[in-house]
């Protein structure tokens, strides 16, 4: 039973207007998630209405990681956007509740971003293989 989970590409400049449109249409913000791929950081905004999920997807290059905030429409987005700042080093502008990188107490800056030199996934630790 796979319900439809489509996504649409969007640019960072159209984001705030689209979020306002979704709020008018009674869409619920479910999650904002990010992952790193060779082009940079790919961010998905997932909305839900009547059990259908629709995502807005945008891509940011690693050297230009800035985004406008959608907390003007969805105040609850502040937790996900602060997480983007802390874990992925994305600078979000206009955040209603900005922790400035202190939401997560972490030992390392942007732990979820692998540097360009080591783009490979982590090798399995030696103990995981047979001796």
């Amino acid at each position: 039973m796979r319900e439809s989970q489509d996504y649409a590409e969007i640019g960072a400049d159209g984001l705030v207007a689209e979020a306002a449109r979704r709020l008018e249409g009674n869409w619920r913000l479910v999650v904002i998630t990010a992952l790193q791929n060779p082009e940079g950081v790919e961010i998905s905004y997932v909305f839900e209405k009547a059990q259908q999920l629709e995502s807005l997807r945008l891509s940011l290059p690693l050297d230009a990681r800035t985004l406008p905030s959608i907390t003007g429409s969805y105040l609850a987005a502040f937790i996900y956007e602060n997480e983007l700042q802390d874990l992925f080093g994305v600078k979000v502008e206009g955040l209603a509740l900005d922790f400035k990188g202190n939401f997560y107490m972490k030992a390392k800056e942007t732990p979820f971003i692998k540097t360009v030199a080591s783009q490979q996934p982590m090798a399995p630790s030696p103990e995981a293989t047979h001796g």
Binding site: S125, E127, A128, T129, H130, G131
Partner: protein, 126 residues
């Protein structure tokens, strides 16, 4: 709004036996089928290393050449992935939990030179 709704429960619990057992005076009886600790039968093992490959924490290490099978109980989370993977049924879950230990010991089962049986030898881990 009611007062004293708990009094019946509190009063009757005076006459019921305690919910706790007096361990260690009474022995712990494990629930049948529990995944307590890992048991290895060295005689059935064919050193295929499947258990070591499936282990999510790397608690099992197998040396195919020297025919040694080692288990680090401190790393074992008793998920029984190795039990499911073993073709020779050399691994099983015993319902009793492994006893507490005050030293880091790695259990080694090794076929001795010229002998056909295996006995566990304990080595202190570096």
């Amino acid at each position: 709004m009611a007062f004293g709704t708990f009094s019946l429960t509190a009063f009757t619990s005076l006459f019921k036996k305690p919910a706790t057992t007096t361990w260690p005076a009474t022995a712990y009886v494990p629930v049948a089928g529990a995944r307590g600790s890992l048991q290895f039968t060295a005689e059935s093992c064919n050193y295929c290393t499947l258990c070591a490959l499936k282990c999510p924490t790397g608690a099992i290490r197998v040396d195919r050449v020297k025919k040694a099978w080692t288990l680090d109980r401190f790393k074992c989370i008793v998920c029984a992935a190795c039990v499911d993977a073993c073709v020779k049924k050399a691994l099983a879950c015993d319902p009793h939990f492994s006893p507490p230990s005050d030293g880091h010991v790695i259990e080694v089962y090794r076929v001795a030179e010229g002998a056909d049986g295996c006995a566990p030898t304990d080595l202190k881990a570096p």
